[in-house]
């Protein structure tokens, strides 16, 4: 496995250093001039780049499918894993579910506080149109919460106080 000595007429490792931008400026200029004017150096630079590209494109083989099992089989019985995914980090889907559930709970709390505050305020005089608009808002919010419930399986309704009954039902 002995490497042949560098051929005397071929550029030496300064060329590789130049391709790596690792030469001092004056030396780099000298090598660049040589590459531009000397065919042997030009060819060598071209070969060096092609070699690097070929090596970089080489297939990276993957470990055999049973490799993990092999490794654990070589360990004592008390070193066997209980579950492969016991320590798995949260997946994006799990994180999204948690965020949605947190959002639903937050919305429920805001709604409950809002209802509580409005219930103990002196009753303002509202027009029928105002009441209809407010009712539409509440219905939209409830529909939105229901949808969140369906998506996240969070029980938002548990966090809600009893909803105020419409005036006509009292």
């Amino acid at each position: 496995m002995n490497a042949p000595d560098l051929l005397p007429d071929l550029p030496d490792e300064r060329l590789e250093a130049w391709l790596d931008h690792a030469l001092p400026p004056d030396e780099a200029r000298a090598v660049a001039d040589r590459v531009a004017t000397d065919a042997a150096w030009g060819d060598a630079a071209d070969t060096a780049l092609r070699l690097r590209a070929a090596l970089a494109a080489a297939p990276l083989p993957t470990a055999p499918p049973d490799f993990r099992a092999r490794v654990f089989a070589a360990l004592p019985p008390d070193a066997q894993p209980t579950s492969v995914h016991a320590d798995r980090p949260p997946t994006p889907r799990r994180r999204r579910r948690v965020r949605l559930a947190a959002g639903a709970v937050f919305a429920a709390v805001v709604l409950a506080v809002g209802l509580y505050v409005t219930r103990f305020q002196p009753e303002p005089r509202y027009s029928d149109a105002d009441v209809a608009a407010a009712r539409a808002d509440v219905e939209w919010t409830l529909a939105y919460l229901n949808r969140l419930n369906a998506q996240t399986a969070a029980h938002v309704s548990d966090a809600l106080p009893p909803l105020p009954q419409p005036e006509a039902a009292r």
Binding site: M1, A3, E13, A57, L60, D87
Partner: protein, 167 residues
């Protein structure tokens, strides 16, 4: 080291460690043995090896194990049976000319001594940063740079000789 931590290390590093072993010894079974040895030693060392240092530690261990193997058995194989190495996805290597070039490159790589061969494998095939290669080989960073330039120059000469012979 808890089994879960070893499992994580396997998921992160097993392909790279196995590939390095395969390129070093050129035999799939031997490469799997060497890679397995490295991971078992990692488990034995446990917390001594920081998580951030695991990759370099594993590559260093697999290389040392491969060198031990060379010494013991006077291993005379090639760097790798290039035809046996399969990529996961189609690559430019499918093209005859490029495959030829790569085959010559790996054959030329086989002529390099250590640590030059490992350096080219780590930096040019596995695309490790020079600092990481320095950590694997336990060499100063500047030495890695100098050795790598020398390794590439020797590789280029060997490649030139091979292609000239064939021509």
């Amino acid at each position: 080291m808890p089994p879960a931590a070893l499992d994580t290390a396997l998921r992160l590093h097993q392909d790279r460690v196995y590939a390095f072993a395969l390129y070093l010894v050129g035999d799939a079974d031997a490469a799997a043995d060497l890679a397995q040895t490295a991971f078992v030693r990692l488990w034995e060392r446990g917390a001594d090896v920081a998580e951030a240092a695991q990759r370099a530690w594993l590559l260093r261990t697999v290389r040392n194990a491969a060198l031990d193997r060379f010494r013991r058995q006077r291993f005379d194989g090639t760097v790798a049976d290039f035809d046996a190495l399969e990529a996961d996805d189609p690559s430019p290597l499918d093209q005859t000319e490029t495959a030829d070039l790569a085959a010559h490159a790996f054959a030329a790589l086989d002529t390099l001594d250590e640590p030059y061969r490992s350096l080219v494998l780590l930096c040019d095939v596995q695309a490790l940063a020079y600092a990481d290669a320095a950590s694997v080989l336990e060499l100063p960073l500047n030495t890695v740079r100098v050795y790598l330039h020398r390794a590439r120059a020797r590789l280029r000469s060997a490649f030139f000789l091979r292609t000239r012979e064939r021509a």
